[in-house]
């Protein structure tokens, strides 16, 4: 796959409706590197490194709320999950393997095609759609679990986006968010460190000014009528080269979940 991604921009822009949260420049940036999604040593290395810890967090919280055994072979059997901003399917596929019925949505057609091609190769059943959270919410579909991980820092209108996510959550259901805090430390680690020093991400992947403080995000979530259940930090240990949950260190990466009723 070529890495230019420029031809995708017009199509995506046309697909986006009048009032939208999708920032066309962001889509172009991610489409350009879509082919690299599934290489754990490639450009999406940090997401692959993130994946075990965030999947574990989701699995454990969902199992606790829905009374499932997290050690079962398919602990999420029967639950409907939507993965908003699914990218290459790094979350959607594992969640489907855990037994969930997964809809993966992404505004970038190219990401959805990449994800669907990979799922076909590995024989995992995921319903990938090129759409936005707002359009899906408008259709009336609802889910037991709604995920938007590493997405809010890329959307144009956070409040509108959170409203759309909340509409997708069924009574009793959960919403998971993960993003980057707006602190001096996150500037050093997520921008200078990840994009310039380690070169884990292409320069310009993130705009620090769009990062959101946990208090701001939690307030936004509460305004939609959901109750925040937990907020945790996720920290990187360079010695073990792994990410781990750090409930008290929200300075850079953090995750939260909220629930309806």
């Amino acid at each position: 796959m070529d890495a230019s991604g420029t031809h995708g921009r017009e199509g995506d822009a046309a697909a986006a409706k009048a009032r939208t949260t999708v920032d066309p420049e962001e889509i172009a940036r991610f489409s350009a590197i879509a082919a690299e999604w599934w290489d754990p040593r490639g450009k999406f290395r940090p997401l692959h490194k993130f994946n075990p810890v965030r999947l574990g967090y989701i699995r454990d919280a969902v199992c606790a709320r829905f009374g499932r055994d997290p050690r079962a072979a398919r602990p999420l059997e029967g639950l409907r999950i939507v993965d908003v901003g699914c990218g290459g399917g790094l979350l959607s596929e594992p969640l489907a393997r855990m037994g969930a019925t997964v809809v993966g949505i992404d505004a970038a057609e190219r990401n959805v095609k990449t994800a669907a091609a990979h799922a076909a190769e590995t024989g995992v059943d995921v319903d990938y759609r090129a759409t936005t959270a707002e359009d899906l919410a408008a259709s009336g579909e609802t889910f037991d679990v709604v995920l938007a991980l590493e997405v809010v820092e890329h959307v144009a209108d956070v409040e509108l986006f959170l409203e759309a996510l909340a509409v997708l959550v069924r009574p009793g259901g959960m919403l998971f968010l993960a993003t980057l805090n707006r602190t001096p430390k996150s500037f050093v680690f997520a921008i200078v460190g990840a994009e310039y020093v380690l070169r884990w991400l292409p320069r310009g992947t993130h705009d620090w000014r769009k990062f959101i403080r946990p208090s701001e995000l939690a307030a936004g979530v509460r305004r939609t009528g959901l109750d925040v259940g937990d907020i945790t930090g996720v920290t990187y240990n360079p010695v073990s080269d792994r990410f781990a949950l750090a409930p008290r260190d929200l300075d850079v990466n953090y995750m939260m979940w909220a629930a309806r009723g």
């Binding site: 754990p40 075990p52 574990g56 699995r59 596929e93 594992p94 855990m98």
Partner: protein
């Protein structure tokens, strides 16, 4: 054979049905992972009644792994606990003494007959619904790509998996297939193994006696039996092996001394060359090596199978952690974690056993003096001093970032 059986689909294919491969299959099977273990030897081999002389030192941490794999309960009654370790230099009184009570109530480890271990593993396999033991059959081909692994068997069947594990020993074909090179050297020594039945109880004492030809170990088995690992220069080992029983006993007597009373050799006598081997990598695309497929060391510290069992515990944890969150157990990042986890521990032991062998297998006066003073110095440390405790915890296999199974937790 029906069509469904022609291609066996599992998550993990283990090539090699030795102690390490079977332990991995039991550990993964206990956690509910779909596994096929492919064994060249018939299931009944090495299980004939009657002791064949081969024993293994199972460190405390390794016993926990076997327990987590559902195997230890079937071994425990026939395992001799090691309560005391004495290291001595040609009967020099300045010996190093480790008492298990200095680190708690648990023994350092146990001496177990290989036959007993294998029997327990073979009894465990049929209790695990997700484990297939395919034996006896040879592997005729291995194909790996980004999506998975296919193992071709001599009977025409294939095993498809997301990860293939080479548990096929020192001359691993899986390692060769992946083009993973090894480094190593021979010590010019052979290990003579045998066993004695003696009149006096050994009291759970393991003795490592350093002789000019190399270490001579007495390892307490269940009952009044002691396993002998006698290191000898290669050219002499064959000669000792062929001695008539009374002369062989006399040679043993000269080394064992009087502390066990009258004794007679039981089981076979065998000798095998001692060498060090280390694979340049433990992993490749959708492939991992465990135990002697990736490393072999001098038996001086009784760590051989224990390092292999720690490989099993680490790899089982990496695989289970990936599967339980829906990730690919054969993906490069999972395998990187395994290799990174095991490399430091393995290289430390390889270097330590190599240095010990070189330090002790000689008669050079300054070295002999240095090791005597060194051992005496370590021994004079009060039992709870960190250094001595560290050595003892190492003997127990309880050092480093421990896999859950080694900590005694469920996978």
């Amino acid at each position: 054979m029906n069509a469904k059986e022609h291609d066996i689909r599992v998550e993990v294919a283990v090539v090699g049905g030795g102690l390490a491969g079977l332990t991995l299959a039991c550990a993964l099977g206990t956690a509910g992972v779909e596994v096929a273990v492919i064994d060249r030897d018939p299931p009944e081999s090495q299980m004939v009644e009657g002791f064949d002389g081969r024993t293994t030192a199972i460190a405390f941490g390794s016993a926990r792994v076997l327990d987590g794999a559902g195997v230890w309960a079937d071994v425990a009654d026939e395992a001799g606990p090691i309560l005391d370790i004495r290291v001595t230099d040609q009967n020099d009184p300045l010996f190093l003494h480790y008492d298990h009570r200095d680190v708690g109530d648990d023994p350092f480890g146990w001496i177990v007959e290989n036959r007993v271990l294998r029997r327990a593993l073979m009894r465990r396999l049929p209790q695990l619904p997700t484990v297939r033991h395919i034996a006896p059959v040879a592997v005729t081909g291995l194909h790996r790509d980004a999506g998975g692994v296919t193992v071709a068997l001599a009977d025409g069947r294939t095993v498809s998996a997301r990860l293939v594990v080479g548990a096929d020993g020192r001359k691993s074909l899986v390692r060769e297939h992946a083009g993973i090179r090894t480094v190593g050297w021979s010590y010019g020594q052979h290990g003579i193994i045998t066993c004695i039945e003696h009149a006096e109880p050994h009291g759970g004492v393991a003795v490592e006696l350093f002789l000019p030809a190399g270490p001579f170990a007495m390892l307490p088995m269940a009952g009044n039996r002691t396993s002998i690992v006698w290191t000898e220069r290669a050219e002499l080992a064959a000669w000792y092996l062929k001695l008539p029983e009374h002369r062989f006993t006399a040679e043993l007597r000269a080394r064992v001394g009087d502390w066990l009373g009258d004794f007679k050799p039981v089981g076979v006598r065998a000798a095998y060359p001692l060498s060090l081997m280390h694979a340049e990598r433990y992993t490749d695309q959708r492939l991992a090596l465990i135990s002697e497929a990736s490393h072999a060391m001098h038996p001086i510290a009784g760590q051989g199978l224990n390092v292999g069992i720690r490989d099993v515990a680490a790899l089982a944890e990496v695989v289970v952690d990936a599967l339980r969150v829906g990730l690919d157990p054969g993906a490069a990042d999972a395998l990187d974690r395994y290799q990174r986890w095991r490399r430091v521990d393995t290289m430390t032991l390889l270097a330590t056993t190599d240095a010990l062998t070189r330090l002790f297998s000689n008669d050079i006066a300054p070295l002999a003096m240095a090791r005597r003073l060194g051992m005496a110095a370590i021994d004079r440390l009060p039992p709870l001093k960190p250094v001595k405790k560290f050595f003892m915890r190492h003997a127990m296999g309880m050092v480093g970032e421990l896999p859950r199974m080694v900590r005694g937790e469920a996978l």
